[in-house]
């Protein structure tokens, strides 16, 4: 199995719902919570997030596009974050999910250094490294309604820009979606084989003008008016 997410950059409006829903679910999750929030009402509020949404601009005005870019753990196949871990706290499951065993971590940060994507954040309160769990405690919880056995961020996303599934199964929704839309992994040149796929914006739909829909020749307002009245007459007489 190769569980992961598809993130659709064509519909992501950068609303931060995924990031917040993630914080909410995992903050009280038995395997990842609590997530530290320091100075919560003070001058420099700062906390542990598994998912951060950044915003970029590509191109120059007026041909510029604003790109909203959510990032969480990509559950890499060659997850160096796991191999560098000296304590064995970081591990990869058979289903591909990369987790940190909170009871084993010594908080050395090496895994965070090894992650090209900034997907790991140290919890200064517990002293342990934390990261996206792919909501492993939702997706396998058979006591949740079937349609809710999804990551919190996927459930929340108002534009359905996030999809969860198994990339090992070529017939899975995520595999097909990624194939159809040219999904790509981040920083592939580093060869971590990230599992999560990002979908580039779709091509702009073209409104094809019918051949006979010629642009009417521009005439004086008066001529245009009589032309319009003529049209009206045969439109209504029909």
């Amino acid at each position: 199995m190769k569980l992961g997410l598809v993130i659709d950059l064509d519909t992501c409006v950068g609303c931060q719902a995924c990031a917040t829903a993630c914080k909410e679910w995992n903050g009280a999750s038995a395997i990842s919570g609590p997530l530290a929030d320091l100075d919560p009402y003070g001058a420099d509020p700062s906390g542990v997030w598994f998912n951060r949404v950044r915003h970029y601009e590509v191109g120059a005005y007026p041909a510029s596009k604003t790109v909203n870019f959510p990032m969480s753990c990509l559950h890499c196949e060659d997850a160096a974050c796991v191999t560098v871990c000296p304590t064995g706290a970081s591990y990869k499951r058979a289903d591909g999910i990369v987790l940190v065993d909170q009871d084993k971590c010594m908080g050395c940060n090496l895994c965070a250094w090894a992650c090209p994507y900034g997907a790991r954040e140290l919890d200064e309160v517990s002293g342990c490294m934390k990261k996206c769990t792919l909501c492993v405690d939702r997706v396998y919880d058979e006591r949740l309604p079937v349609d809710e056995r999804q990551p919190a961020c996927v459930l929340a996303c108002p534009t359905h820009a996030r999809h969860f599934g198994d990339f090992d199964d070529p017939m899975s929704a995520v595999s097909i979606l990624s194939a159809e839309r040219g999904g790509f992994g981040l920083l592939e040149q580093l060869d971590y084989k990230p599992v999560n796929r990002y979908l580039p914006p779709r091509a702009v739909p073209v409104v094809a003008m019918d051949a006979d829909a010629q642009e009417a020749e521009r005439v004086t307002p008066l001529a245009a008016l009589s032309r319009l009245m003529a049209r009206a007459r045969d439109a209504l007489s029909r």
Partner: protein, 330 residues
């Protein structure tokens, strides 16, 4: 990368300690097989080795200061199969008794065979640990400034240079006459010159943008994450810039990866590195190893210079995470 002082201290101290032990062990072996005259009376060698060992231990202690959850530190002996940090931990553990053994051999001047055994083991372990430490950094693909052969090479050079100096310094302050140290001093000169060259080569490597990754690549502009190309704005020239970080204050990521050093401050550190790390010790050597106070000062200067070198090593490292925080290229 954030230069965590505990880590700088660790790599510099244990580097010098390991280098020193390697050097004495090596010279002792050479002497045993009669290639060279003995470096110094065994008891003096033992004292020097003991002090070097203390530096190693001090370094290891410093390293634990940077752990957020030290109570699990012992677990770092478990993953030596894949983790350079774990290997370093395991080997360091093994190294202690061996090094102590060697010191004992010299102190009680035991039979050569034993001495050879311990010397060889110490030598090999010291070298391996130095390499492991270096590989912790050199193995990190996201940091192209670290992911290079320069790193292990340099770590070995600095370790041995500062280590060799340490040996001279200790023996000298121990009252050992300068004359008999001349061959070793030549070695120190050699090592420091090599180290300096190593640093310069490393900097030349940094200046080349070989393997550099751009923000555009990081967010997939070449993969179609861009406005539809227009004649006046073809895909090829589409630059990307950060509009909003998505969080108001600092985060673990900004604190750990996104430190920006003002060019002015950097220059000062560079000056510090050359002057303290290289020039001052050499001056002391050139002055004919004057006095034990001079010796101690030379060693201190060297350590400070090495800390500066290590600080630069971190400050110059640009992790790919910085791309996502708006840096145009690594």
């Amino acid at each position: 990368m954030k230069p965590a002082f505990s880590v700088l201290l660790f790599t510099v101290l244990s580097g010098a300690g390991l280098g020193a032990l390697a050097i004495i062990a090596l010279l002792d072996l050479a002497a045993l097989v009669g290639m060279i005259a003995p470096l110094a009376p065994p008891r003096l060698q033992a004292r020097a080795a003991a002090i070097a060992l203390l530096l190693v231990v001090a370094g290891l202690c410093a390293s634990t200061l940077h752990l957020a959850n030290p109570k699990n530190a012992w677990r770092s002996w478990t993953r030596w199969r894949t983790s350079w940090l774990s290997r370093e931990a395991v080997l360091s553990l093994a190294f202690m008794p061996v090094a102590v053994g060697l010191v004992a051999c010299w102190w009680w001047d035991v039979a050569p065979t034993m001495r050879v055994l311990f010397a060889v083991a110490t030598l090999l372990l010291a070298w391996m640990i130095l390499v492991c430490t270096a590989m912790i950094y050199a193995s990190l693909k996201p940091i192209r400034q670290w992911h290079t052969r320069h790193v292990p090479a340099n770590f070995l050079l600095y370790g041995h240079a500062s280590g060799a100096l340490l040996v001279v310094v200790v023996l000298r302050s121990d009252g050992y006459e300068a004359a008999s140290l001349v061959p070793l001093v030549w070695l120190v000169w050699l090592l420091f010159v090599a180290a300096a060259i190593g640093k310069l080569l490393y900097w030349r490597f940094l200046r080349s943008d070989k393997g550099a990754i751009t923000l555009e690549q990081a967010i997939g502009v070449p993969r179609g994450v861009r406005p539809p190309p227009t004649p006046d704005a073809p895909a090829s020239i589409m630059a990307a810039r950060l509009f909003d970080m998505g969080h108001a204050g600092g985060t673990f990521l900004t604190r750990e990866f996104v430190i920006n050093v003002a060019a002015r401050n950097r220059t000062w550190i560079v000056v510090l590195m050359w002057s303290f790390g290289f020039v001052l010790p050499m001056v002391w050597l050139a002055l004919g190893l004057a006095r034990w106070q001079g010796a101690v000062l030379a060693m201190l200067a060297c350590m400070i210079g090495m800390l500066a070198e290590r600080w630069l090593f971190f400050a110059d490292a640009r992790h790919t995470v910085r791309l996502y925080h708006g840096e145009p290229t690594t």
